[in-house]
């Protein structure tokens, strides 16, 4: 490797990549956290991401307005969430299976729409990287060392990180958060106190799916600015795993997402630096880390007690 590549450059490169790569995982996993805290396991995240990715891409492709694209992803994500809610809450279908169904629906529909409405892979101009210019000549992005790492991401990336404290506050400090936690931990008790468990779960799943839609949009109109069939490549499932990893806490999810994407960035550098580690091993690193983290025994304790359990009044 060239001498001019100091350890600092590599380290900063990894952090920069890690932050950017964490964006879709963060949105999807944070949304899933809310859904699971209310007691619903939504395995359809990947399908919702694909639909969000396609709809936002298509709208930007047609209107050249990224905000309209984001709106489309939000609307489509909420629609998919309502669908999941109807099936898993109203009809009390097995959550794991209905989630997989939703995933396949999203995968198939996004491919079909892509084929009929676009046909080929196209590019758009989505959300561009911000530079935080305070004056005409001075931009935070130009600050040595940290500038590029922290101040040259797109708006959607900052949005994802901003969500972490917001959701942390909502979950732990507000009545809404209490209701969500109650619905997932002890729905009978919540019900007995006059909380509509179904309504809370509907809202949580729909909100979570909306974030999954935005996660898709962050891929198609911010990070990559293209749409390709099955472009999430299973990111939604990684996001579900990150919720377990993060012990159902937004903060834990943040740590997990950053760790996962930083290790992914690291493994790329490992290959580029030609450290004589087989690429297969490098590629394995992030997953290896996930497995180790998931295997740690204390994590299970935080799981919402009523997760995957449908609730119906009076039967229990």
């Amino acid at each position: 490797m060239s001498e001019n590549l100091t350890a600092a450059v590599i380290l900063l490169g990894i952090i920069h990549s890690g932050i950017r790569l964490a964006t879709p995982y963060l949105y999807a996993a944070l949304g899933e956290t809310i859904a699971q805290r209310s007691g619903v396991l939504n395995l359809g995240v990947d399908g919702i991401m694909l639909m969000g990715a396609f709809s936002s891409f298509y709208v930007v492709f047609k209107t050249e307005n990224p905000w309209l694209g984001l709106l489309a992803a939000i609307v489509v994500g909420m629609g998919m969430g309502l669908l999941m809610s109807v099936v898993s809450i109203t009809f009390q279908a097995e959550q794991g299976i209905s989630g997989i169904g939703l995933y396949m629906f999203g995968l198939g529909l996004s491919s079909l729409l892509f084929k009929t409405m676009l046909g080929t892979v196209e590019g758009v101009q989505g959300f561009s990287e911000l530079r935080f210019c305070l004056t005409d000549s001075f931009c935070l992005a130009d600050v040595p060392v940290v500038g590029k790492v922290l101040f040259s991401h797109s708006l959607l990336t900052y949005g994802a990180f901003a969500l972490v404290p917001i959701l942390l506050w909502v979950l732990n400090k507000t009545t809404w958060g209490l209701k969500i936690r109650a619905a997932g931990q002890n729905p009978e008790a919540a019900d007995s106190l006059g909380v509509s468990v179904a309504a809370v779960r509907y809202a949580s799943v729909t909100f979570g799916s909306m974030l999954a839609g935005v996660a898709g949009a962050s891929l198609s109109i911010s990070l990559l600015n293209i749409f390709q069939e099955n472009m999430t490549n299973g990111m939604g499932f990684i996001a579900v795993a990150l919720v377990y990893f993060g012990s159902w806490s937004p903060l834990g999810v943040l740590v997990g997402a950053l760790l996962f994407s930083s290790v992914n960035a690291l493994q790329l550098w490992v290959q580029v630096l030609d450290l004589n580690i087989p690429s297969d091993v490098a590629v394995m690193l992030p997953y290896l880390l996930t497995i180790i983290a998931l295997a740690l025994p204390f994590r299970r304790a935080a799981q919402p007690a009523a997760l995957t359990k449908p609730f119906s009044r009076g039967e229990n």
Binding site: N4, H16, L107, V121, Q228, M231, N233, Q271, S279
Partner: protein
């Protein structure tokens, strides 16, 4: 698709209608009364076919002409030119009373066209015109059955005399003559000194025109750059538009092109205010302000002569050519041209007419030093019987990579042979091998003749199920294992030698890099991706062993986001040229585009995604390998063959971007030649 089906349905209805009419109210035009008035409707049914032979209709008799067209009578090109001529001839001969015209449009399917030709002949039309080279084979089969009917076809010079046929006329347009004049005009009108040609398929009339155009442009200005692109289709309007866009981006300020597809290109030219030179039919109504000159075909004289010959008792045997000298071709100069250009154009036109300027000789002279080979090279298409082909794909047919490359080739074959000769079924996204095995078994059970499992991961399943379907041919790759050792005989193996294309790309990369660091975004270190990396690294180091090639694998074929991140990482590590393979690279190309870093692609053409940064592509062309499997299968050899896609056998082709410097292209072409003639042996380096 739906539109085509609708069209097809309409056509079937039309043919049925024509057949019904012919059988009933209006019989053949061979009444006994020779001196009938032209206005007299010929309603008496002739007793029998043979009587018609003697009863040649004289000029005063109503003559019936039918024509089968590959596109529509409003295509502003090939079909419209001859249809308009027929209508003019009809008016001269006394209107529909004296001359009947029947036509069938959109006969892109040769078998359908053959049915239509036969129908018209059996309904007693006097002259049946098959207006396309592709109809020749069918025509020669049909013509002997109707010795009293005259047939005509073109672009052709073969009247079937050698086969003993006497009732066929052949015609061609010497499109290179007007093409030459258009080339001269273009050279005089161009300010950027770059011309763009939107060609359909490098054959027949289109090839003549484009050869002439290029020669004319060079004749007027030897240093002018003529960029030629072929869309590979006559009717792909969207692609033609895209081709026009590409030419404009590459600096062209005068465009031309042929076939009905050009409607799309003219639209783009109009929007961008770029001049257009037309051929075949008058395209100026579409964009009067930019269509400044046209070579127009006038078939009227040829058609009139065919009818006159028939009326004199000669049913065929003559070959015609439209030339500037005989008036079959004429130049239409319009207002937008400069006086100087018109003068130069008229001068060469005069010389061609007078025989002082031999366009063909100039073209021949030019071809002694051919320019860098373009994407479209001569493909040989053997005769094949109808075949049903199914393909199981690990990703999608629009993945811009592995799956798309084979599907595009299958589609191209289907376009050539017609949908009733080659049936294609496919299943996408079969990343799950068990699902894929089920799909493969289903296709075999449904009676598909050739089932392709397009991934090395499907091999084990394939060898298990192939013996259950001994009459079906299977194929898989990337591999060289046909299962012969396990006693399997009906499996083909295929392997794109990606190391060859990779080597050439490596040579290009080594020439392009300034930082002397090149980045490669690989999927998984196996199969054709591994070959690609091996070849690429060898190619770079063949130019300069000190250039650093950073190779990274994402561990997945479809992880677009990670591939993008890998590209970012390479750029941060100093790479200023990137390459990569598999469908994931869409993400990496996005990054390359954003950062303005040159990209070198492989498998499918990724140019549409980022026309400015995709500098070269090693394109997989599966057609030769697929044709080999098809012909082997139909000859009774169901498998056991290993087929490689190499530069030598046309299985891989290099596409170069217009902006790629000439010396780099030359270095790349030298590498291609070296690989083909064996002087370059690619040795993978230990990684």
């Amino acid at each position: 698709m739906q539109k085509r089906l609708l069209l097809l349905a309409l056509l079937i209805a039309l043919v049925a209608l024509v057949a019904a009419c012919g059988g009933g109210a209006e019989p053949t035009s061979a009444p006994e009364a020779k001196a009938a008035e032209p206005t007299q409707p010929a309603t008496q049914a002739p007793a029998a076919e043979p009587t018609k032979a003697e009863a040649k209709a004289p000029t005063t008799e109503k003559i019936r002409v039918a024509i089968v067209l590959p596109s529509t009578v409003t295509d502003m090109a090939w079909s419209q030119a001859i249809y308009d001529a027929l209508v003019r001839l009809q008016a001269k001969r006394g209107g529909p009373e004296a001359m009947e015209i029947a036509y069938t449009e959109n006969m892109w399917n040769v078998t359908d066209a053959a049915a239509a030709i036969r129908d018209y002949a059996s309904e007693g039309y006097d002259l049946v015109i098959a207006h396309g080279t592709q109809y020749g084979t069918s025509l020669f089969e049909i013509a002997p059955d109707f010795p009293d009917t005259s047939f005509a076809w073109g672009t052709a010079t073969d009247t079937g005399e050698e086969q003993g046929l006497t009732n066929i006329f052949a015609y061609e347009a010497r499109a290179e003559e007007g093409g030459f004049v258009n080339g001269v005009l273009a050279a005089h009108m161009s300010k950027s000194n770059v011309l763009g040609v939107v060609g359909p398929v490098e054959a027949g009339d289109a090839k003549l025109y484009i050869d002439g155009f290029e020669a004319g442009a060079r004749y007027a200005k030897p240093d002018i750059q003529v960029n030629i692109s072929y869309t590979g289709s006559f009717g792909d309007t969207a692609l033609a538009a895209e081709a026009a866009n590409t030419h404009i981006q590459a600096g062209a300020d005068v465009l031309t092109g042929s076939a009905q597809q050009v409607v799309g290109a003219i639209g783009v030219a109009k929007e961008k205010g770029v001049l257009w030179l037309g051929t075949q039919s008058d395209q100026s109504p579409l964009a009067p302000e930019i269509v400044v000159a046209s070579q127009l075909y006038d078939w009227e004289g040829v058609l009139a002569d065919m009818l006159a010959k028939r009326e004199a008792g000669q049913n065929g045997g003559a070959a015609y050519a439209l030339t500037l000298a005989n008036g079959g071709l004429y130049m239409d100069y319009r207002d937008g041209l400069s006086e100087e250009a018109v003068a130069a154009g008229k001068e060469v036109e005069k010389q061609i007419v007078a025989g002082e300027l031999d366009v063909m000789a100039i073209i021949g002279g030019e071809q002694v030093t051919p320019p860098a080979p373009k994407t479209e090279t001569g493909m040989e298409y053997p005769e094949i019987a109808p075949i049903r082909i199914a393909v199981v794909l690990p990703s999608t047919i629009s993945d811009l990579a592995w799956s798309q490359s084979i599907f595009d080739s299958l589609k191209a074959l289907q376009e050539h042979y017609g949908e009733d000769v080659i049936e294609i079924a496919y299943t996408e996204n079969m990343w799950n091998v068990t699902d894929a095995a089920a799909a493969i078994r289903d296709y075999a059970a449904e009676g598909y003749n050739l089932v392709i499992a397009h991934g090395a991961q499907y091999g084990t399943s394939l060898f298990e199920l192939a013996p259950d379907f001994p009459d079906t041919s299977f194929a898989w790759g990337t591999t060289t294992n046909t299962g012969a050792e396990e006693g399997v005989t009906n499996v083909f193996a295929y392997e794109p030698r990606a190391d060859q294309g990779g080597y050439v790309l490596g040579v290009i990369a080594a020439h392009l890099t300034q930082s002397r660091i090149v980045g490669l975004v690989g999927p998984v270190d196996a199969g054709d991706a591994k070959l690609h990396v091996d070849g690429f690294v060898a190619g770079v180091h063949a130019v300069d062993p000190d250039i650093q090639v950073n190779v990274s694998f994402t561990g997945s074929f479809g992880d677009t986001a990670l591939a993008a991140e890998a590209a970012n990482t390479h750029i941060q590590a100093g790479a200023d040229v990137l390459a990569g393979s598999a469908q994931q690279v869409a993400g990496a190309i996005g990054v390359a585009k954003e950062k303005g870093v040159p990209w070198l692609g492989i498998q499918a053409d990724q140019t549409p995604l980022a026309p400015d940064v995709v500098m070269a592509t090693a394109l997989y062309d599966w057609r030769p390998a697929l044709l080999k499997m098809i012909t082997d299968h139909q000859a009774g050899k169901l498998g056991g063959e290993v087929l490689q896609l190499t530069l030598a056998n046309g299985g891989q082709k290099m596409i170069y971007h217009e902006n790629l410097p000439e010396d780099v292209i030359q270095a790349a072409e030298a590498a291609v030649q070296g690989i083909i003639d064996g002087s370059i042996v690619i040795e993978p380096e230990p990684r």
